[in-house]
Symmetry: C2
Subunit: 439 residues, 2 copies
């Protein structure tokens, strides 16, 4: 007996087409000097098609890497959707990294084209001569500063707006294998060279479906999400894809991320939810506690990555009617307490880092390699398995990071019987290598 179901593939292009057509009037707000720019998803869809035509003309083909050196803004969102949809591979670079590391990652990923914000050109310019694989730089001047690019020889510079101008608002998106590469993000803990994780269309799509669920981010077309977390960090927790999947609008702060600017942007754009590293929420709270006019009234809940999360921080947001929930990167769902937990019980859950969704399994492994019970007490290394969990790295063996088909996260913690993960520390790297040798 065979299944009689159609074999529709899970592809980013489907999310792009869906959001641009069925949620045409949802919008992405981008913070701009003195206000914001608002672009509907219909326009993002047309721009994504135009960008794909332009990239194709520059010679970008299936599997080629297109790097981005951008803040969170409408043009970055466009690239996040267009590049994988055309069969190329998105590589969001983290502009906060030291210059030599940015060069190394662009080379390691073999980026052929870079799309860069004008405001970041002073940082990028001096690095370009060392990026041997980069042939084209596309400069996004939307909401820009007027800073001129420093153009090394051998690299062609294009203006983003001019490059897209007049191109067709539709594109014959290819039908790709759902396991084809869609994006590469590098991650590291500072103790060693960052490792490249190549997301597939399938992994991004499945993560987005899972993360949209009510007990995860709970995103609907009535939401607007403040997306501070950058695409360079686990694809910004998948928010560009979640937004087009669900029709939730986006609020992107561009380079205006200092607490005062962010508070002003929140008041102007009025997001219902927010996603940012914990330190952003901590700094924002400190700012608004000193500013009686700050207006967070549109926010209902915000998601924070990082630890430790102090009860003070939870309470500070609670006093403003905002629920702060922990997340642990994009691996798990937020640590949302069960519906029947109240008071101290709920607080206990909220100090965890996340909760396992159905598609991700975790196990705890002790120093001797034995599996430990999920009793919210035993502490061991957290290991993960699932369709959006890394199974290897791009051009980097690191066998110590994988064991028996599980990702060794290198973090220690405990797991509760109902699937809440609490991170308690990091393994010494030496132990990770030892264990791998024995495995």
């Amino acid at each position: 007996m065979l299944s009689t179901m159609q074999d529709a593939r899970l592809q980013i292009r489907r999310l792009l087409e869906h959001g641009a057509a069925l949620h045409a009037s949802a919008t992405v707000d981008t913070a701009a000097p003195g206000g914001l720019r608002r672009v509907p998803y219909a326009r993002i869809g047309a721009d994504a098609a135009a960008l794909a035509h332009a990239l194709g003309e520059l010679g970008v083909g299936e599997g080629d890497r297109v790097g981005t050196f951008m803040w969170n803004n409408a043009e970055h969102l466009t690239a996040c959707l267009a590049v994988p949809s055309m069969g190329a591979v998105l590589h969001p670079l983290d502009a906060r990294l030291p210059g030599e590391q940015i060069v190394r990652l662009a080379e390691h990923a073999e980026d052929r084209v870079l799309i860069a914000d004008e405001a970041l050109l002073p940082h990028l310019g001096p690095l370009l001569p060392q990026m041997k694989t980069v042939e084209h730089v596309i400069v996004n001047r939307a909401g820009g500063t007027g800073a001129g690019p420093a153009v090394p020889s051998g690299v062609t510079v294009h203006e983003y707006a001019a490059l897209l101008d007049g191109r067709p608002p539709a594109y014959p998106w290819p039908d790709l294998d759902e396991r084809a590469p869609a994006a590469i993000c590098y991650a590291g803990d500072g103790s060693r060279a960052p490792k490249g994780v190549v997301h597939s269309h399938r992994s991004i799509y499945l993560h987005a479906l899972s993360a949209a669920m009510p007990d995860a981010f709970g995103l609907s077309s009535g939401d607007k999400v403040l997306a501070v977390v950058p695409p360079s960090c686990a694809l910004g927790w998948g928010l560009p894809y979640l937004a087009f999947l669900t029709g939730a609008s986006l609020a992107m702060p561009d380079r205006f991320q200092a607490p005062q600017a962010l508070a002003g942007f929140i008041a102007a754009s009025r997001p219902t939810k927010g996603a940012a590293p914990l330190r952003v929420w901590r700094d924002l709270l400190a700012h608004i506690e000193a500013d009686p006019d700050a207006d967070l009234s549109s926010l209902t809940e915000v998601f924070a990555d990082g630890r430790p999360c102090s009860p003070d921080l939870l309470e500070g947001y609670e006093r403003r009617g905002v629920t702060l929930l922990h997340v642990w990167g994009a691996a798990a769902a937020p640590a949302r307490p069960p519906a029947d937990a109240t008071g101290a019980g709920a607080r206990h859950y909220r100090l965890a880092q996340g909760r396992l969704p159905a598609s991700v399994q975790a196990r705890l492994v002790g120093p001797d390699g034995a599996a430990l019970p999920h009793d919210d007490f035993s502490v061991g290394e957290l290991q993960l398995r699932g369709p959006w969990i890394a199974g290897s790295y791009h051009r980097d063996e690191a066998p110590g990071d994988f064991h028996d088909g599980w990702l060794r996260t290198g973090e220690t913690g405990r797991i509760s019987p109902d699937g809440y993960l609490t991170v308690t520390g990091r393994l010494a790297d030496a132990r990770r290598d030892d264990h791998a040798g024995a495995g």
Copy 2:
């Protein structure tokens, strides 16, 4: 460049294991004479393992069909999870069909084992001698009537409780291809023999992820869903799988589906949401309007399949604080109005049959085969494409039902630019056959 993600498969066993462990204290309530039976998901998980051991002992192997002839109850839920998880294929039979059709479907699917409610034995007994492929009948007497089975020769009868008793509460679930068959449901419009659609693990899993989203059923671990729609109808809109995916509890009415009994069960079990054919909601409303003591206060929204839905019905539920939303089988999401639609605008959306989720595409085809615009005005045949949409039928060619990789639903309607589907009628079968001949 290759994706570096793990290749975890989408399997029913993952939902079963997840729900039974992480949502161990979620429960399924089954209506019983004078009250209800409540079973936690941890117990459903253990029973599913025991049932799989028992079925294996009866000779059920990978791909073998196990029919169910049951009302919606805890034991049916157990079978919905256990049978696919062990690699066999669930075949829920619709006890409301005429006897000769039930016989034909059991034969067409080649059911080897039937699990039957005691209360349905008087109906099943006379049919058994004609079901040539059935070797074993397992009788579920939980909440039963004490009716004795009529046992034809050549069929072995087992008691469900005795068969499971003492078996291990864990099972070595196999690792299956996600496109392996999981369940078969037959559907027809009365004008011809029902067609068998074989759901795969992948199609069920992807549908559940999509249907859980806030703009679809919006299910969380804080919900309890009254599941009146039977598994024989598109796997009960996937609710057994949605429940274990999300941790939402279930309320199953067993054979107590008359309006008064259903109202009493709702008052006792206190579901937050409900899923049933439109006529069930219509009859229930008529009943409670005559009964001042009826208590629907736990319900927030209910999902109704069927048409036409009168504004009276919407308003009747609205007066009781319950939002009634249309669904169109399991193909699309409910017709939930956009967040910014109010008054007459929202009402217009709520009279549609459903809204397209990202994974399902629809097109409208006119009598001449031309594609019609999605302008909420043009009327044509609704055709569907997506990972949980049929691409063929089990042992039945019916080429007129498929065209170019799309399912021809045989229903006519219109599609709005934002993806709302409104069904207006049915194609004459003759036209469907004509068109297929030309295609």
